[in-house]
């Protein structure tokens, strides 16, 4: 059993090391926003800030509306009509690899959308360059 004389300094050293990590982290500056490709096409169905905050909620609702209720038209707050389709509507303006993925990766989010939707799009930046074709565009994870 270690003596009391060596335990106390060890705890203090550990706490100091932990505090040092936080101290160094404080100095790393503001978080850099990822570089995203500007979407082309008509203006999005809501403001960018609103879409940034709640696109996942919207896609969730779209999913249930299209698949379960057979409802395929969405009316935006400004009254414009949109076809409910991730691949047909969202991805016709937004690039999956240069718009969706960089931000998801920066935020360590792994949405399971791509395991079925838009699988035959170009491979994500994380995928091995030589694995080619349609099998590699799935981010790891997904449904176990």
């Amino acid at each position: 059993m270690p003596s009391r004389h060596s335990t106390t300094p060890a705890i203090i050293a550990l706490l100091a090391a932990g505090a040092l990590l936080f101290w160094l982290g404080l100095d790393s500056g503001p978080i850099q926003a990822p570089e995203l490709a500007r979407p082309s096409g008509r203006p999005c169905l809501e403001e960018a800030s609103a879409m940034r905050a709640k696109h996942m909620r919207l896609l969730h609702d779209w999913r249930d509306k299209a698949v379960r209720e057979g409802q395929r038209i969405h009316t935006a707050p400004d009254g414009s009509k949109w076809r409910i389709s991730l691949q047909g509507t969202c991805l016709s303006c937004h690039e999956k690899t240069s718009f969706c993925s960089p931000c998801h990766e920066k935020n360590a989010v792994e949405p399971s959308c791509w395991s079925c939707h838009a699988r035959n799009e170009a491979a994500g930046p994380k995928a091995a360059p030589d694995s080619g074709g349609k099998q590699d565009s799935v981010p790891k994870g997904g449904r176990p």
């Binding site: 698949v67 379960r68 057979g70 047909g88 079925c116 838009a118 349609k134 176990p144």
Partner: protein, 245 residues
């Protein structure tokens, strides 16, 4: 005293009367808005053969990115079988051999009383108001209870990642992933755009699809003209795919 009590009871009963009348008004409103659509399919097997069914299956599988996996793990939405295997309880040895071995296309029957929906513990498979038995792969947990419950073998399980086995993926339709069940959806995505199901388009007029709640629809008229059979109707699942043999 008695009088006021009676008045009170009458007064208390009045809202109940209003409540009991409200649903009637709702029904009247629904009737005004129009009938509920009920999709069904009628297959005239006299006008089909193995090649035609193969063509229908290809059109279906291509439109929905259904993989072609060799061996027992294959996934199918529409496939062909002989009459004697599809309708074993209606066949007997005195039936002409040509009729017994005639090819019929098989698919999900979109039962009005679907056992798959009853057993699904995740609510992943469901019956829509228009009669479609839908499948929500987002919610499927891969337990395969629906496959055990379906008397028609209309459901397939993705034992492996299907993507490598889809030779020419259609970009507009999603794929499935390993561990989910899939089946025919009566082309819900095409119906939403006012199109006929892919197999109907590929059948050369041998398959009629439409609304059986509308007596004027082509399918209702054809059903009224002929003797039609449904697969394993004695099980009480009320299949909505009808066959003329």
């Amino acid at each position: 005293m008695n009088r006021s009590r009676r008045d009170f009871l009458l007064l208390a009963g009045a809202p109940l009367l209003a409540l009991s009348a409200a649903p009637q008004a709702g029904h009247a409103l629904a009737a005004e808005k129009g009938r509920v659509v009920r999709w069904a399919m009628l297959v005239d097997t006299r006008r089909l053969n193995t090649q035609a069914i193969e063509r229908m299956a290809r059109a279906c599988h291509r439109a929905h990115n259904v993989p072609d996996i060799p061996g027992r793990q294959d996934v199918k939405w529409l496939w062909g079988a002989e009459v004697r295997h599809a309708f074993p309880e209606s066949c007997h040895s005195a039936l002409p051999h040509a009729l017994q071995t005639r090819a019929v296309p098989l698919l999900c029957n979109h039962c009005a009383n679907p056992p798959c929906v009853r057993v699904c513990p995740a609510g992943a498979t469901f019956k829509r108001a228009d009669g479609l038995v839908g499948m929500d792969p987002h919610r499927c947990i891969g337990c395969r209870c629906c496959m055990a419950a379906c008397p028609y073998g209309a459901r397939s399980f993705n034992f492996c990642d299907p993507a490598p086995y889809v030779s020419d993926p259609v970009p507009g339709y999603p794929m499935r992933e390993r561990g989910v069940v899939e089946k025919c959806t009566f082309c819900a995505e095409r119906l939403a755009e006012g199109l006929q199901p892919a197999c109907v388009d590929a059948s050369g007029g041998a398959v009629i699809f439409g609304d059986i709640s509308d007596p004027a629809s082509a399918i209702s008229q054809a059903l009224a003209r002929s003797l039609t059979l449904r697969r394993k109707a004695h099980l009480g699942t009320e299949p909505q795919v009808y066959y003329i043999l």
